[in-house]
């Protein structure tokens, strides 16, 4: 219930020389401090800057029970160490202006994060009241907080409030009044530090006592020195006699780990407070998450679950997506091609060719991917929304470490499953230049969505019911090549160095159909836009090359070029058309299908899939699938490789490296498949 009416008291004139009680509002950013400030002061506030700083200072007045108060909204800070101007302002205000009360606003839905500032405030001389804000959010998240227990544990008054609804503010104002009247006799429980650092703290305190400038409390200064606070260190270095400073400095040098130890003591204090005051934090969801993660995040079983889910994605794709794709290919695109051929029978040959072979045969063929892409988008959206994708990344990183790959390399590599471009850009997280370069070199080996779509299109055509198994093996094969390359490079460059990668695991939750629907819709629109622009443009270029110079396909530039490079394609079981399709996939991987659509466009009324299976052997089909997974990256990826390496040399090396791997692996696969009679 709102307390607004109770606290809104008419303004009273300020008596000349009257000293109003000074209240400071402290808190981390985004805990609702400003909401409380605005509620208490209403329009009676003014905004300026803190002296000598560009940080905003908000100050106002309010009246409660016929008494006026001065309220200062301190800048939002995480701690009171001199890490930022805001933190220096906040602590200097508390120490120098000596407010009568400091209200520490904390977020009840995330006490672990909010209480750190309280751990620092309770060591200062000003009385502290904790305003436990966002109680409504905490309740929504299933948290049950006992304010009276937290009060007993902290040793300072704790008032639950919901500032957005002004709930609990009357109680807060009453406690402010009682605190000023000295009616609260609580003693704050202070964080402790490890015994060995406690001795160091006492030593420092002995050296500085008598030389600490006012208004700093000596105990607090000693703690800040131990914490390595730059401002306090500078102040004390300038204040202390040289021999005293050297003695202090010697203690600090012997306890250089105290920086973490002091903060560690505060987190242990926070842990105790939370254990005492928070009852069954989200236990239902946590226990489910814990139980599921025993399997899903397990280093061994987690990998099998991931492989199983990948298999399920392919199963769904081939069970639902592929028949829909075949139907679109033969009935819709094939039908439209036949219809357009009839309608344009009397039109000039280039108009008919442009529409039937260029537009429908090229971009139309790529648009038949749509059911497959929608399934990919929906399944990955579902996995992301339930919280599983984080587990997939985690178990894969475990595998990478087992194989000797660098942990930091996995982050960008995982992005590569969506698109290789962000994978290459993601290598910016790697500090070491050689490590980053090598990760860039192997990133294009991660099968991206576009490569997977080509596989999903062709695998059912050549392998029928075995398409699921073949696609699954192709992904594993691709990852094996990546791991082998990565392991080799790791040994050569990283020398087995291990660094950490830490991931926040979201709780599992039921997927939201609206979120997934929106995701699928946005991604589908993006795909259609791409098919209607880049891929259509490439299809038209291929078509133009297939009719120039004289309008005869057999003597066209495309056929001449295809026949010129055909000998290389032969190693992999390709004729000139498959070789040209492979090269055309350089601007975008989907262009391979668009190009085949243009090249087989003469078979009007027959879908592309049928044309391909009647032309090529299974060995050639498998070979084309393998090369799709390993061939040089698309043009956009090459462009970012150039940008990120800042070297044409390394960019060319990457192209050559990928070309070598793809031709070598593919020739091997083709000859093996041919040898076993496929």
């Amino acid at each position: 219930m709102s307390d607004r009416q109770t606290t809104s008291v008419p303004e009273q004139p300020v008596m000349v020389g009257e000293k109003l009680p000074l209240i400071a509002l402290a808190g981390q950013p985004n805990v609702g401090k400003s909401t409380l400030f605005n509620f208490l002061t209403g329009l009676n506030q003014h905004v300026g800057n803190w002296p000598g700083k560009t940080v905003e200072r908000r100050e106002g007045k309010f009246t409660f029970n016929d008494r006026r108060y001065n309220l200062v909204d301190l800048p939002g800070t995480y701690s009171l160490t001199a890490n930022s101007p805001e933190e220096v302002i906040a602590r200097e205000f508390v120490l120098r202006d000596q407010p009568d009360v400091v209200i520490a606003v904390v977020n009840a839905s995330n006490l672990e994060r909010s209480l750190y500032l309280v751990a620092e405030l309770v060591t200062l001389p000003a009385p502290v009241i904790v305003a436990l804000n966002m109680m409504d959010v905490a309740a929504q998240e299933g948290l049950c907080i006992e304010p009276e227990v937290l009060e007993a544990a902290l040793g300072v008054p704790v008032i639950p409030i919901t500032a957005t609804r002004a709930a609990g503010t009357l109680a807060l104002l009453n406690v402010i009044e009682d605190t000023l009247a000295g009616n609260f006799l609580l003693t704050p429980r202070l964080p402790e530090i490890r015994a060995d650092h406690r001795i160091a703290l006492d030593e420092i305190l002995n050296h500085i006592t008598g030389n600490v400038p006012s208004p700093y409390p000596p105990e607090w200064v000693a703690l800040k020195l131990l914490e390595g606070d730059t401002e306090i260190t500078r102040t004390m270095q300038n204040t202390l006699p040289v021999e005293k400073w050297e003695a202090v400095n010697a203690v600090l040098r012997n306890h250089d780990d105290a920086l973490l130890a002091v903060a560690s003591g505060r987190y242990e204090w926070i842990g105790r407070m939370v254990r005492a005051a928070v009852v069954q934090p989200r236990m239902g969801q946590i226990s489910w998450t814990k139980r599921l993660d025993e399997w899903a995040a397990h280093p061994f079983w987690g990998l099998w679950i991931l492989a199983g889910i990948l298999g399920l994605v392919f199963w769904l794709t081939f069970t639902i997506g592929s028949p829909a794709q075949v139907w679109l290919d033969s009935r819709v695109v094939g039908g439209l091609s036949t219809l357009a051929g009839r309608v344009l029978a009397e039109a000039p040959f280039w108009v008919r060719g442009l529409v039937v072979d260029g537009i429908l045969g090229g971009a139309g063929a790529v648009l038949t991917f749509l059911p497959i892409m929608v399934i990919f988008f929906a399944v990955f959206g579902l996995l992301e929304d339930t919280g599983y994708m984080a587990r997939a990344a985690y178990v894969m990183d475990n595998l990478m470490h087992l194989m000797g790959l660098h942990g930091k390399s996995f982050l960008p590599l995982f992005l590569g499953f969506g698109c290789n471009v962000p994978a290459v850009l993601g290598t910016r997280v790697i500090d070491s230049k050689p490590a980053r370069l090598l990760t860039i070199l192997i990133a294009p080996l991660v099968p991206c969505t576009a490569r997977m779509a080509v596989v999903a299109f062709l695998a059912p055509a050549f392998f029928g019911p075995n398409a699921l198994l073949v696609s699954w093996v192709l992904v594993l094969f691709s990852m094996l090549i990546l791991v082998l390359s990565g392991s080799l490079l790791n040994k050569l460059i990283f020398n087995g160095q291990r660094s950490a990668f830490i991931m926040e695991m979201p709780l599992y939750h039921l997927p939201n159909s609206r979120t997934i629907g929106l995701l699928v819709w946005q991604r589908t629109l993006s795909f259609i836009r791409k098919a209607g622009t880049n891929i259509l443009a490439m299809a038209l270029v291929i078509w133009v090359l297939s009719v120039l110079p004289g309008g005869n396909f057999q003597t066209s530039y495309l056929v001449q070029f295809g026949k010129f490079i055909e000998p290389v394609g032969r190693w992999m079981g390709f004729d000139w058309r498959l070789t040209v399709a492979l090269i055309a996939s350089f601007p975008a991987k989907e262009n391979a299908i668009a190009t085949l659509g243009v090249l087989f466009g003469n078979d009007q009324g027959v879908g592309l899939v049928q044309s391909l299976t009647s032309t090529y052997s299974v060995a050639s089909g498998l070979s084309f699938l393998v090369v799709t997974m390993l061939f040089i990256p698309c043009m956009a990826t090459v462009a970012v490789i150039r940008q990120e390496t800042n070297s044409w040399g390394w960019t060319m090396f990457n192209i050559a490296f990928m070309l070598m791997i793809s031709i070598a692996a593919d020739s091997g696969v083709y000859h093996l498949a041919h040898w076993v009679g496929l």
């Binding site: 701690s79 890490n83 850009l425 160095q497 990668f501 830490i502 979201p506």
Partner: protein
């Protein structure tokens, strides 16, 4: 507790907040708070998304900045 967390991170490898919380005998939320503290100290780095650089990707409109999972990696060496 923070020192123990740093020791775990220094061991290297892939870690996740629930597992770290179990090893430290605390809640994942406290581990996340400590991770943010280490980030402010400059000892670890948050892995921010690369939405600004996805110009070449056909799916950039759909995916940029949608991930809700936070990742960190270490800046200190063994």
């Amino acid at each position: 507790m923070l020192e123990q967390l740093v020791r775990e991170i220094r061991k290297g490898g892939s870690l996740e907040t629930h597992g770290l919380a179990a090893r430290l005998g605390t809640t994942p939320q406290l581990v996340e708070a400590m991770m943010e503290h280490l980030q402010r100290m400059g000892l670890i780095q948050n892995y921010s998304d690369c939405a600004s650089g996805c110009q070449g990707c056909g799916l950039r409109d759909a995916c940029s900045g949608q991930s809700t999972v936070r990742l960190w990696h270490t800046k200190f060496e063994d």
